[in-house]
């Protein structure tokens, strides 16, 4: 403790710490859901994560090395014969360099960010026949309606692979956020508004989904599984739900709206116009807002 450990040493300790921390966790790389995309949206976002990560890592590494060098060389100690220029405080050329480099980085990153932001509002693949899933966040459950298939599910999603899906989101409770990390980033569910989010699964599998915006005591339990299956299996599942599951009645919907937890359920049908009624009800009966164009 007597003398300062040089930042270089500190850095070495940190690297060691980070590496051993990751080893100790014993968690498989698959558990890094954001880094394991299963569809084009998540892949596209991961590209930007990696690009921005690499760009900033270069700067951070440079700053830490420079700090270590300067502190090592210019410490006040006897017989330090490094140059000492107490009045030197201006250098046009140096300052131009460190104004210019971050500007270049920001411009590069900004261009990619802009392109990606616009592309993510469109379906990930050209499709003549997009599938729609209407999502409602409730206290504290997720209700999914499939208007094309006329079925509904609770706390569970089944989707076909290779099919762009447009999720239309609203909330009949405090605002939440709909997030399936392996398929792509999140979008908020807002009462009185319809938000849109394109996602697509390319690989079959079961992916974790969750609510990402705090909504009260049951919030931590608002998780759901997303099962991605080939189109044939999906069609089979739909007809099985249509033929063998109960309908979602208005009465049952009203119980779902009440705060509480619930398990997984499948419904062969749901009350007509349920989704739009929810959007309109919470909007004072006015025209719904937020059709993907802001307020």
């Amino acid at each position: 403790m007597k003398r300062l450990k040089s930042p270089r040493k500190l850095g070495r300790w940190l690297l060691l710490g980070a590496a051993s921390a990751l080893l100790l966790t014993g968690c498989s790389p698959q558990q890094f859901s954001v880094l394991n995309p299963a569809g084009p949206v998540a892949s596209s976002e991961l590209q930007l994560i990696i690009l921005s990560g690499v760009l900033v890592l270069v700067v951070v590494a440079f700053v830490i090395v420079l700090l270590a060098f300067i502190v090592g060389r210019y410490r006040e100690k006897p017989n330090n014969n490094a140059p000492y220029t107490p009045e030197w405080s201006e250098s046009r050329s140096l300052e131009i360099i460190w104004w210019a480099i971050p500007i270049v980085i920001v411009v590069v990153l900004g261009i990619f960010t802009g392109i990606k932001t616009f592309s993510l509002t469109r379906p990930p693949e050209a499709t003549s026949n997009p599938m729609i899933v209407q999502v409602q966040s409730l206290d504290w459950k997720w209700l999914f309606q499939y208007p094309g298939q006329k079925i509904a599910t609770l706390n569970y999603l089944e989707i076909p692979t290779g099919q762009p899906i447009e999720f239309v989101l609203t909330s009949n409770a405090p605002m939440n956020s709909f997030w399936i990390p392996q398929l792509g980033g999140m979008e908020m569910t807002m009462p009185g508004m319809q938000m849109r989010l394109w996602l697509q699964a390319d690989k079959t599998g079961v992916y974790e989904g969750r609510g990402a915006n705090f909504t009260g005591t049951g919030f931590a339990h608002m998780t759901f599984n997303v099962k991605a299956v080939p189109m044939a299996t999906f069609t089979q599942w739909v007809s099985q739900v249509q033929s063998s599951k109960p309908a979602l009645t208005n009465a049952e919907y009203q119980t779902l709206v009440k705060p509480g937890l619930a398990g997984v359920k499948e419904y062969s049908s749901y009350p007509a116009n349920l989704f739009m009624k929810v959007v309109m009800k919470d909007n004072g009966g006015q025209k719904p807002m937020g059709l993907n164009g802001g307020m």
């Binding site: 951070v60 405080s89 960010t113 807002m190 705090f214």
Partner: protein
């Protein structure tokens, strides 16, 4: 009878933690009352502190409050981390956990970071620009007492009525009556509105002080960098805080009087709240970080024994950050469905903040380059700040890339990022400032042994605590979850993080212990300039006399005190005659006004409108009585000034 019982059981919260809180509050209060009475300190407390309008004393009170709140917020943090150490933990229930992370965030931002920066600006700015006090000393005292009683109002919710639990951002509809009945959320609204009045007043006060009260010859471009940083901060405070006041005021009307500004079912729109909140919320981030930048800009030249590199660029970058900060608020909700055009604008604007910030880092580094670096405690905190803030800033740029943010938003990646910039930036900066100016505040030096232990524990603890949270975010863990199941791969990283939090807690204890031992075994700062520093405050004895400067110095360049020392002076020029010094009188009214606001706030919290009205009427009466008070200032006679100066060995 049962009605009374029911009322009492809602009024006084009874759980194991709350009863613990009751007991400790009771014991501490009794101890304070005992000491004050036993040593006959009541008069001293009232005359010297509670009624003081001296910026130095107000600054010290802010500092004390900030450290206390750092403790309270830190205990909250440790409870959060304890709960998350084990999957499916039952240490805290959801209701409790929600309250604790809400008060943790609210306290750390509004009742720890804010008073800490106010402490630094109060203690330093007038001394640094050659002024005898701030422009409006009485208003300054009001600011402090409104902050103090606002903070007390929030803290009392822990044992009376129940803490707020809708998150520190308090978004409707969750924070509206339908989803958050009970007084908890009212505590949040009232406490922040009350202390917010004080914050705006402080912003105005210091803006005027800096613009109008600089010593002759100190042009803006000769002003020390900390004062520049406070000028930029004040601009942000004045234009940002009204947005918060409006947002909270409207939410208050929704909850209190059934208005529908943000309740969707009544045609209101919660997006309005979110926008207003972050129009304040993002500048607020710079309100707390710019003073830290200012502090580092004083510490680095002093301990590198070298002129600050690129003064003009430092000023430019400060002002650029202050201005850009108004054009980035939407990045707090990229995922709320604004169009791609809007998101792109705010993404790129947010990245732009990195440019002036990066410039500042390089200028600090090149201030040390070809200097002679002394690794004192304040300098150590700076050296720890650089890598920490570089990483935090870098992840900030990553978050600013809107499409990538869709994957980070509300995850532990975000939690790690903002703790890294707020702790690594603001807390490190304020601690550095506290160590740096401590001799000036109290006239004693701080010891170094425990300070170093605290430094290393806090620093290492920081990385152990927060580095695991980045990967946790990439594994899909979201913030504000009171529990998580096993088998997600989150357990070990959470456990490491918890260990780190407790290491930081130990670091805090060492820091406080260092302060306590320094006070118990004081080493006097006899020179007034223990660091061989550069700016005007170090020309004064420590602690500075209540009128600061016996004679207002004439300033001829930057680093005014350093320039005088280069000319061979060891104290300020004392060849001119001393004239009587015009000073403000102490007043008990600011304190009483704080009490009245507290009473009114407490009344509003419980919808006891008669009590609220009584408090507000009291406030109005005080305002009137002050308006007709003419005996508010006095002159310190020349003899008294000479006598005081002689005590410091000066003439």
């Amino acid at each position: 009878m049962s009605g009374v019982q029911q009322f009492l059981s809602h009024f006084f919260i009874t759980g194991p933690f709350e009863i613990g809180g009751d007991v400790s509050i009771g014991l501490v209060s009794i101890a304070i009352l005992f000491i004050l009475t036993r040593y006959k300190l009541w008069g001293w407390l009232w005359r010297e502190w509670l009624t003081s309008v001296d910026h130095k004393k107000i600054g010290i009170m802010y500092l004390l409050a900030a450290l206390l709140m750092l403790f309270r917020g830190g205990v909250d943090a440790l409870m959060i981390r304890t709960q998350l150490a084990i999957p499916g933990n039952s240490f805290l229930q959801a209701e409790h956990y929600d309250q604790i992370f809400t008060t943790h965030g609210t306290i750390m931002i509004l009742f720890m970071a804010m008073p800490f920066i106010f402490a630094m600006m109060n203690i330093v700015v007038p001394l640094q620009i050659g002024a005898r006090d701030v422009a409006f000393p009485y208003l300054n005292a009001i600011s402090f007492w409104l902050f103090f009683f606002g903070a007390m109002l929030l803290n009392i919710s822990f044992v009376i009525g129940g803490s707020p639990d809708a998150g520190w951002v308090n978004y409707p509809p969750l924070a509206e009556l339908r989803f958050s009945p009970g007084p908890g959320d009212n505590f949040y609204l009232l406490s922040i509105m009350i202390s917010g009045i004080g914050s705006v007043a402080t912003g105005i006060n210091f803006l005027v002080t800096i613009l109008k009260m600089r010593a002759p010859g100190m042009t803006l471009m000769r002003m020390p960098m900390f004062s520049w940083a406070i000028l930029a901060t004040c601009i942000d405070i004045i234009f940002a805080f009204p947005a918060l006041t409006i947002a909270l005021g409207l939410e208050f009307m929704d909850r209190m009087f059934g208005a529908h500004f943000f309740t969707v079912s009544g045609g209101g729109n919660p997006m309005m709240y979110v926008n207003l909140f972050w129009m304040w919320g993002h500048p607020e981030v710079y309100i707390v970080i710019l003073p830290a930048f200012g502090i580092f800009s004083e510490i680095v030249p002093t301990f590198a024994r070298k002129k600050l590199f690129g003064y003009t660029a430092m000023v430019t970058s400060l002002l650029l950050i202050a201005i850009i900060s108004y054009f980035v608020w939407l990045h707090h909700f990229f995922t709320m469905g604004a169009g791609a055009d809007v998101n792109t604008f705010f993404a790129i604007a947010s990245m732009f903040v990195a440019i002036p910030t990066g410039v500042k880092v390089f200028n600090w580094l090149f201030t040390m380059y070809r200097g002679r670096i002394r690794t004192t405690i304040p300098m150590l905190w700076f050296l720890a700040f650089v890598p920490n803030f570089a990483i935090g800033g870098a992840t900030g740029v990553m978050l600013a890339a809107a499409p990538a943010d869709y994957q980070y938003h509300n995850s532990y990646f975000l939690v790690a990022h903002f703790h890294q910039v707020l702790i690594g930036g603001v807390v490190y900066g304020m601690l550095a400032g506290m160590y740096y100016w401590w001799p000036k505040m109290f006239g004693i030096l701080l010891e170094e042994k425990w300070a170093k232990w605290g430094y290393w524990f806090f620093n290492i603890g920081f990385y152990v605590c927060f580095m695991p949270q980045y990967p946790l975010g990439l594994m899909g863990m979201t913030r504000r979850m009171y529990t998580y199941p096993a088998g997600m791969g989150w357990t070990t990283l959470n456990q490491i993080s918890t260990v780190g939090a407790f290491i930081m807690g130990l670091g805090f204890i060492f820091i406080v212990w260092g302060i306590v031992t320094s006070i118990l075994h004081p080493v006097k700062d006899t020179t007034g300039d223990p660091w061989d520093a550069r700016t005007l405050e170090w020309s004064l004895p420590s602690p500075a006399p209540h009128y600061n400067f016996a004679r207002i110095p004439q300033i001829e360049g930057r680093d005014a005190w350093w320039a005088m020392k280069q000319k061979g002076l060891t104290k300020l020029d004392d060849s001119t005659p001393i004239v009587p010094i015009h000073m403000p009188k102490s007043s008990g009214k600011p304190f009483i006004m704080g009490v009245l606001f507290f009473v009114a706030g407490f009344g509003f919290v419980f919808n006891w409108f008669i009590l609220a009205a009584l408090g507000m009427v009291g406030v109005v009466i005080l305002l009137f009585s002050r308006s007709f008070e003419y005996d508010t200032d006095y002159y310190v006679p020349v003899d008294e000034v000479k006598h005081t100066e002689a005590l410091y060995g000066r003439s």
